[in-house]
């Protein structure tokens, strides 16, 4: 235990000595201050602590929109962008040197010559490296918790769920940084390779999400086309085939044209869906085994939904689906696509999302640990 505490104290001192740690904390503080500067009164909303008043009938302290807007800013712009991306990138830049420095000639000798097993040392060093994110997000959440409580009167302790969630997301990425750091012993190389991995991961997840969206759209369009075909065939059958009524002939021709169009639409949708399948299936398999950064952050929305359907995390998640709201997509097909997509994504359990991600992380860390343990220094 005392070794654990010593490592923790050392990690804190290391962070304390890093300027970027304080810069990041300062930036987080500015974000919280900016967030807290937004207020609501009976006339509308105020910004910069009352310096700028925007009158509004809809968004004021008497309507529920104020709460939706306030938390929406928090979720879409602060958590979705700041905590999920910028803070993690800053954390990676700050912590990418930890393992290469730990393994540097002259430094590692001092540690390995102590009566500690290498696996223990590795595990402790990795765990302590997460302290950067834990401290940053914890301080940030305290600020946000106070802002939300004071501004809209909602003291939501679940805001602090962002601490473990963001930390676990960071740990997926940092595991790769550790592996590359242990292999190359170069902080710059480790950082670049990690950012490349993260970008690839984002690309894969986005592709998977978009392909799924398009496949759902094709399914819906196929079903719509089939419904139209069925309706048109019924109506066509109702017209007397041998009638010499010119009106009937015109209607039959029109129905046949529309029927033909519907059949073309159906074929086109089936064809479109079939063309996407060879791409979507392998990407789905690959993303299944890779860490799920965006879905993990998205879990917050499920956990933080309140009884009125109000969801802090619905806006807190930083993934692309968080930006799809039905109000922005009035087209019924779009609404249906969004609805089904969200339903499909929500069908993945938290255990699956975090479990498979942690399994990947465990594999990467095991590989890094094996290299660390077996190497001569």
């Amino acid at each position: 235990m005392s070794v654990f505490l010593a490592m923790a104290l050392d990690a804190y001192r290391e962070l304390n000595a890093k300027k970027l740690f304080w810069i990041t904390l300062g930036l987080s503080g500015m974000v919280v201050i900016a967030f807290g500067s937004i207020g609501f009164n009976e006339q509308g909303m105020s910004m910069f602590y009352g310096l700028w008043q925007i009158d509004s009938e809809f968004v004021n302290s008497t309507t529920p929109w104020s709460r939706t807007l306030y938390v929406g800013i928090f979720s879409d712009f602060i958590v979705g962008l700041w905590l999920s991306w910028i803070a993690i990138i800053l954390a990676l830049i700050s912590t990418c040197t930890i393992f290469p420095d730990f393994l540097a000639d002259g430094a590692i000798d001092l540690v390995l010559s102590k009566p500690l097993h290498r696996v223990t040392l590795f595990a402790m060093k990795f765990g302590m490296s997460l302290m950067f994110v834990v401290l940053q997000v914890m301080v940030f959440c305290v600020g946000i918790f106070l802002c939300v409580g004071l501004r809209i009167g909602e003291w939501n302790w679940m805001i602090f769920a962002a601490v473990p969630v963001v930390t676990v997301v960071y740990s997926y990425i940092f595991a790769v940084c550790v592996l590359t750091g242990v292999l190359t012993r170069s902080a710059i190389t480790a950082l670049l390779l990690t950012l490349m991995f993260w970008s690839s991961l984002f690309g894969m997840q986005t592709s998977q999400s978009m392909l799924l969206q398009y496949r759902i759209r094709f399914e819906i369009e196929t079903a719509n086309a089939e419904r139209r075909i069925e309706q048109l065939e019924t109506r066509l059958a109702a017209i007397e085939p041998d009638s010499n009524d010119p009106g009937n002939a015109f209607a039959r021709a029109d129905f046949q044209r529309r029927l033909e169009e519907a059949r073309v639409d159906r074929e086109s949708s089936i064809d479109g869906g079939a063309k996407l399948a060879p791409w979507h299936i392998p990407i789905r398999v690959i993303t299944a085994v890779l860490p799920k950064t965006q879905p993990t952050v998205g879990l917050l929305s499920r956990w933080l939904k309140d009884s009125e359907g109000f969801s802090i995390a619905g806006m807190m998640r930083g993934d692309m689906t968080g930006q799809r709201t039905s109000s922005l997509m009035p087209d019924p097909t779009d609404v249906e696509v969004t609805h089904r997509l969200e339903k499909k994504l929500d069908a993945y359990s938290g255990w699956y999302i975090i479990g498979t991600s942690l399994a990947f992380e465990a594999l990467v860390l095991a590989a890094a640990c094996i290299v660390f343990v077996r190497r001569d220094y």
Binding site: A107, I108, D376
Partner: protein, 328 residues
């Protein structure tokens, strides 16, 4: 002198280390270090000295090894609680002060809190770093780093201390202080294993030495014993050597530029040189000086690293040998 339980403090046999690329860093090294002595390990660059020390400290995994350190097999981690180590070119975390560094490494060595606090203060005083104790190590000079490094090696009050170039970068005053500390540790019964290039320093404090060349121990023992064969008397006389001296089997004649001649009586004991002196006096030869001469550690070292075939120093570095050649 073996350890109290009858074992050597370090008793290694058949130590072999082959790095990637078939680089044979160590080839069947055998080292025995008894308790309470200062043992010096010498060798040219790349001879395998640091590799041997790192194997004992579990930093490098041997290809083959048998033997013990403090009575336990090499690689037995709990034994390291009783061992102190100062690596060559050690690097403390730059964000720590000297005191924090000592306490941190003491904790890793599983020293309890009151002891590590007390010992850190004592050792910083011992190595002359009390005034710098609470300053960041990033502000230290190399000599200061060595001093704090030595304190780090002693923080767990070890029975065995392994020091790799402890006086590297230290000024003459500091070197003397470090030597005094090592001698004091010896009087306290500690065993010290020293890697150094500074042969004169090793000669001053080591009880025994081993010379490692291209991964093999070529000489090992007490310095007196290793240089006993080189013991001789040098008799300096005025003018040229007498004619009988040229035919004397035990004498070598070196004529100097200052009209003096040195007669070297090889391997001679004091009684055996007396007849030569008597004969010189009888011949009215002026004797300027008579002094016993012994080979220095540097001479011994140079002799060990000279290739007898070429008469030149062996190339530094580890050996790249075929499997057959590698077998001793």
């Amino acid at each position: 002198m073996p350890a109290p339980n009858g074992e050597y403090v370090i008793d290694l046999h058949d130590v072999e280390k082959v790095y990637k690329g078939d680089v044979h860093a160590l080839r069947g090294v055998e080292i025995k270090v008894t308790g309470g002595e200062i043992f010096g390990l010498l060798g040219p660059n790349g001879a395998g000295k640091s590799t041997l020390v790192k194997i004992m400290m579990t930093i490098v995994r041997p290809t083959r090894i048998s033997g013990t350190v403090l009575g336990r097999p090499v690689g037995h981690k709990p034994t390291l609680r009783r061992v102190g180590f100062l690596p060559e070119h050690h690097r403390f975390p730059r964000h720590l002060t000297g005191r924090q560094a000592l306490e941190f490494y003491a904790t890793l060595a599983k020293v309890d809190r009151p002891t590590r606090t007390r010992r850190a203060t004592e050792l910083l005083e011992t190595v002359g770093m009390s005034e710098w104790a609470d300053k960041k190590v990033s502000t230290y000079s190399k000599g200061m780093m060595q001093r704090v490094g030595l304190a780090q090696a002693l923080i767990n009050d070890p029975e065995l201390v392994l020091l790799d170039e402890p006086t590297d970068g230290v000024d003459p005053v500091g070197r003397r202080e470090i030597r005094d500390i090592l001698l004091r540790l010896r009087t306290e019964g500690k065993t010290i294993f020293l890697n150094s290039h500074l042969l004169s320093e090793l000669e001053m404090i080591c009880d025994r030495v081993a010379i490692l060349v291209q991964g093999r121990v070529v000489q090992q023992g007490r310095i007196e014993d290793l240089t006993a064969d080189s013991q001789r008397y040098e008799i300096v006389i005025e003018g040229a050597a007498p004619s009988w001296a040229a035919g004397h089997p035990e004498l070598r004649i070196d004529t100097g530029a200052d009209l003096r001649t040195t007669l070297t009586c090889r391997g001679a004991e004091a009684p055996s040189v007396q007849p030569i002196i008597d004969r010189l006096r009888k011949g009215k030869v002026t004797i300027v000086s008579v002094r016993p001469v012994r080979e220095t550690l540097e001479d011994l070292f140079m002799r060990a690293v000279i290739d007898p075939k070429t008469g030149r120093a062996l190339a530094p570095g580890a050996a790249r040998l075929t499997r057959d050649e590698a077998t001793p």
